[in-house]
Amino acid sequence: MQRLILRNKNKIALISGLLIAVGFISKWTMGRLAIFEGALIIASLFGVAPIAIQAYQALKVKVVSIDVLVTIAVVGAFLIQNFEEAAIVTFLFLFGAYLEQRTLNKTHSAIKELTEMAPESALKQREDGEFEEVPVDEVDVGDVLLVKTGAKVPVDGTVLSGEGSVNEASITGESLPVAKEKGSKVYAGTILDNGTIQIIADRVGEDTTFGKIIELVEEAQDSKSEAERFIDRFSKYYTPTVLLLSFIIWLFSRNLELAITILVLGCPGALVIGVPVSHVAGIGNGAKHGVLLKGSEVISDFSRLETMVFDKTGTLTVGSPAVAEKEYYGDNIEEVLGYLASVERESDHPLAKAVRAEVGATTFSTVEETEVVKGGGIVARVNGHSIAVGNRALMEREQVELNEKAQADIERCEKKGNSLVLTAVDGELKVLMGVRDQVRPGVKEDLQKLKKLGVKNLVMLSGDNQGTVDVVSRELGLTEAHGNMLPEDKAAYIKRLIEEEGQIVAFVGDGVNDSPSLALANIGIAMGGGTDVAIETSDVVLMNSDFSRLPHALGLTKAIARNMKQNIVIAVGVVFILLTGLLFSDWVNMSIGMLVHEGSILAVILNGMRLLRYKSR
């Protein structure tokens, strides 16, 4: 019986609403007070049933819940024969609960969309080599699985055979398909857009990247900030206090109506729900845009960020040197490039690697008499030509003449922080290449956005020499840049900012050798070094280590912080207005109290939902 009533709470709300309508219509159109009262009595009896059951169960486990307050209020209203109030209050309470559930479901929608992307079944290879469909729980590490076009990849694994393109939006937030072939890694929860692949399971279930993301998001949602813990403690004692207060008021004033009105006004709804709602909607928005915020402490710190400290190599720059400048002198360049690539093929110097990547496919020739000149480059013979590849010092040693244009080019490249690779054929300069670790595309714009969002200091720390650091700093428009720093120097620098200057500091680094700095900073953000490491070590996880999510992350936390404040103002303001209304005027009664109270709960939920649509500009 109890369960039947509880399960049909919504229908009961509907019936009691209809009865109330019937009552009022008959009163106004026919003036039948008997029908009016009868309808309202039935409506309130119907309506109070589920509330009273919940109240009873709450008391059984020693909790004074809102249901208890409302039930007592309704009983009180019956005692003073105010059936109109009793009926309307129960109806509003039930209807409000229904609306709250509907809207709360919406705030969870972003996260639900994410969890629903979890794979459910897999095609697993049996011992006889055939594939059969099994629930994803039955897949173990080392199983061979078949993934067909349109299917979800069930586990994290490695492609054994076949090829195809995979949409990895669920992991990276990036919807461009990624090509996969033998040996490529694939991730659970991603979708094979076309092709067919066989994979071997490396990690299953909660150990997969996708599993970890879901766990993290769920944990983050329910991690409580200091403010929330305070509100929780507060509401634990708040409802009993309201009960006590209304009892005292009744004792002294003997005014039952006033006492039960206090009970209804005292329901703490909007205040306890306002903060978690902003929080959940915000985290949901982040999850959809490739930003995982680990809990509310992180949101609050990040939103008040003053200083961002960046590691240079691999964070602001691509991390591997590449050819940035090119000048050709004379003809037969194709041939020269072939020689150059052939010579560089002999070397594993990082500059040689960059040059080879730049030249790409070409005709290779046999290289003879290779001589490595320390601190200079390489001299060799190719197809009967004497080839010298190296820096300016090598050119001087080989007595290569540098004309005016070449000298100007060299100077210009060096100023921009390039390392030079000059190529001379038979004593004549043919090719100039400037190699440097290039700034990640788009980073400059992202840094500008961060500045606009209110980050005061953008600082770069690097182990490179100050000259190179200055060049990058100027290019990116940073506020400060320090070179020649070891990992412990960086950590000390951050410690000083936090402890001596009292700043809130975020550190963005590669997550491997910068871990002390990541741990020390108020907010640590790991880039690269694999999605796994980044997820575990970062306070704010940028999916796929995508730098361009950073402005969205910052803007979002600011929006969440604002939203929480608005909700607190709404909640406290409503209680304040109702109480002053009750004390100093006569427009506040039980029904209006309940209406305003439910209205304010809906208002904070709807306000929180705005965060789902937040987009950074």
Binding site: Q2, R3, V61, V63, D67, Q101, I111, G269, P276
Partner: protein, 75 residues
């Protein structure tokens, strides 16, 4: 000891948490410290001793309070 994750219908009031928390903790065979009721994901996580209590009994205790159990996972 088994670890259970119970998915409930959407919880709407924080006082529901306290009710479920107190009710589940009072069950014989449920490890008290392990009980956590998550408001936003509407989940209950707990460890229990399968020789003293079954997952069905735990679910019953929650449904008796008026909260629908959607599914539960035991590991």
């Amino acid at each position: 000891m088994k670890k259970a994750t119970i998915q409930l219908e959407t919880l709407t009031c924080p006082s529901c948490l306290q009710k479920i928390d107190n009710a589940v903790k009072s069950l014989e065979g449920v490890e008290q410290e392990s009980v956590s009721v998550l408001f936003n994901s509407s989940k209950v996580k707990l460890n229990f001793d399968e020789e003293k209590i079954s997952i069905a009994q735990i679910e019953d205790a929650i449904t008796a309070l008026g909260y629908e159990v959607k599914k539960s996972q035991v590991r």
